[in-house]
């Protein structure tokens, strides 16, 4: 049922500058790429992709950017939050050799997908893009999966200087991938989409959400695709027909705002 279950935070972890993970007990099965609606009582309820998937424990990882994430950031062990979900479709992880590209907090959603690929003995290459080294997180967690990890920073403070898409383009030119999976700023994903040509592509989109289960229409894109229910992961073919992909989103009122 689409009603929040109240649960206590069992642990919080600082992952990077302004970035935290919150862990809570939950035994529900998750496909990497799915999300929860997280209720911070008295503040807001926001969609958060699942970053930790363990049998009985789940987690979310986020950067404080708005009122809701700031409030969430300040919560401590034993504080109560409401969880409903999981929602959405998640990534389809198949092929023998996958390129993952995570940008900014999009890394949070990419991580469990890489872990799943590794569990299924799929060769994984991961490109992580952040502004600078202080914003990088999950590098060690991802190294443990055995995936090849490459980092790009805007200022060159770690890894390659430049965008994740520059690094990804190099990889695409040098290697053959069966599939490219990405989550991050939409402009990055749009560029990556254009680089992929005929390689199967999946991107996880983010839109302002209210209901999370496909009725309110707040997150609709293209010809009536609900990011919460028909997405948040869309394949390359579908994205070709979504005119706003990489161009605009909508605010809480439904007004278009450029990305």
């Amino acid at each position: 049922m689409n009603y929040p279950k109240i649960t206590k935070i069992i642990e919080t972890r600082k992952e990077a500058k302004d970035t935290k993970t919150i862990l809570f007990k939950d035994s529900v099965e998750i496909i990497p790429g799915q999300f929860f609606m997280i209720w911070i009582p008295g503040v807001d309820e926001i969609p958060m992709s699942v970053s930790y998937i363990d049998k009985d424990i789940k987690g979310i990882t986020f950067r404080k950017i708005g009122d809701a994430t700031k409030a969430l950031y300040n919560l401590k062990k034993d504080d109560k939050i409401g969880i409903r979900g999981p929602y959405g479709n998640g990534f389809k992880i198949n092929g023998k050799n996958i390129l993952f590209v995570g940008g900014g907090t999009g890394i949070a959603m990419i991580a469990p997908a890489v872990e799943k690929a590794s569990y299924e003995k799929i060769t994984s290459t991961v490109v992580l893009g952040v502004k600078n080294k202080d914003e990088l997180f999950f590098e060690k967690k991802l190294q443990k999966t055995g995936a090849k990890i490459f980092v790009a920073t805007d200022d060159g403070s770690k890894g390659d200087k430049g965008f994740a898409t520059d690094l990804a383009e190099k990889m695409l030119n040098e290697h053959k991938f069966d599939s490219v999976l990405t989550c991050g700023p939409e402009i990055m994903m749009k560029k990556l989409h254009s680089l992929c040509n005929n390689i199967p592509f999946q991107a996880s989109l983010e839109r302002y959400m209210k209901c999370g289960f496909g009725i309110c229409g707040q997150c609709c894109i293209g010809k009536g695709l609900r990011v919460c229910k028909d997405g948040p992961v869309f394949d390359g073919e579908t994205l070709k027909n979504i005119e706003e992909f990489g161009k605009y989103k909508r605010d809480a009122s439904g007004k278009k705002i450029p990305l």
Binding site: M1, N2, Y3, P4, I6, M37, W39, P41, G42, V43, D44, E45, I46, K80, G82, R84, K210, C211, G212, F213, G214, I215, C216, G217, Q218, C220, I221, G222, K223, G224, L225, R226, R250, D251, A252, S253, G254, K255, K256
Partner: protein
């Protein structure tokens, strides 16, 4: 759905004969903070707070939608007659085929039900919108009224072309663990399966007392639900929450179910069913 052209087009591709837009006001409105929608045992509780991009930003949505020739009913909400008139004129100029005056939202201060419970206001607003527009005008009324028949008659006397009944039923859910109402606005409106008998009753009462058509809404998820509304006196029906129970394809499914019920019971036209339950 129905806040953007794309989703309204999808709904008609799924078999709806037309679409009613989200209620649009003069200015952009973000609505209430989340939680704004939750599901309860027998229905859906929401207090969206009339979020909408404002009438001027809605021009593009209607114009894009009209490219595919979809019949569009523009829903509007204002706080007085001048607001409704301006909204109605703009909706008409963008290409809407009819107007629905939202006088029944149970959880928005200064709008909706606060206007729709006063028969004089309902009459005055409807009359002025009718005078300043050419397209049909429907008045959507609330089940939370002691004088529902009086309100419907007020709309009829102002030459409304149809009554839409019902809007959501005023409701609240308190979370036991946190001991607070779950909705950020505390009070919301209940829709879905639980409200169908309320809607059927309201439609029946209105139908006995007015001579204009009624569009039945509230808890319809199957063809038989729609037929029940027809028997109560509705000439058409609207579906919203049903999308949750049966997917966006609900519209086509319900059309098929209506046809099959009519065939089994030897009816050729829906008009033969309208109001048959009135004794």
């Amino acid at each position: 759905m129905d806040e953007d052209a794309g989703s309204m087009e999808r709904i008609t591709r799924c078999g709806a004969g037309g679409v009613v837009t989200k209620s649009i006001g003069l200015e952009p409105r973000e609505g209430y903070p989340n939680p704004t929608v939750v599901e309860l045992e027998c229905g859906i509780l929401n207090a969206m707070g009339l979020p909408n991009p404002g009438i001027n930003n809605f021009e593009d949505e209607i114009k894009n939608l009209k490219k595919s020739n979809v019949p569009v009913i523009g829903s509007i909400f204002g706080s007085d007659k001048d607001g409704f008139v301006e909204l109605g004129k703009k909706m008409q100029s963008y290409g809407a085929d009819a107007l629905e005056l939202n006088m029944s939202c149970p959880h928005a201060k200064g709008y909706g039900l606060e206007i729709g419970s006063d028969p004089d206001l309902v009459r005055e607003i409807t009359k002025n919108v009718k005078k300043s527009t050419k397209i049909p005008v429907f008045v959507k009324i609330s089940p939370n009224l002691a004088n529902i028949v009086e309100i419907a008659k007020a709309a009829e006397s102002a030459h409304a072309n149809a009554i839409v009944a019902i809007n959501t039923v005023k409701a609240m859910k308190i979370d036991l663990e946190l001991r607070i109402p779950i909705l950020s606005n505390k009070i919301g409106g209940y829709s879905g399966k639980a409200v169908k008998p309320i809607g059927v009753c309201c439609v029946c009462e209105i139908a006995k007392n007015v001579n204009i058509p009624i569009i039945g809404v509230g808890g319809i998820t199957t063809g038989e639900d729609a037929i029940e509304y027809f028997m109560a006196g509705a000439s058409a029906v609207q579906i919203g929450s049903g999308i949750h129970y049966r997917g966006v394809e609900i519209f086509e499914k319900i059309c098929i179910e209506i046809e099959s019920w009519m065939k089994d019971h030897n009816y050729n036209k829906i008009s033969e069913l309208i109001g048959v339950a009135h004794i």
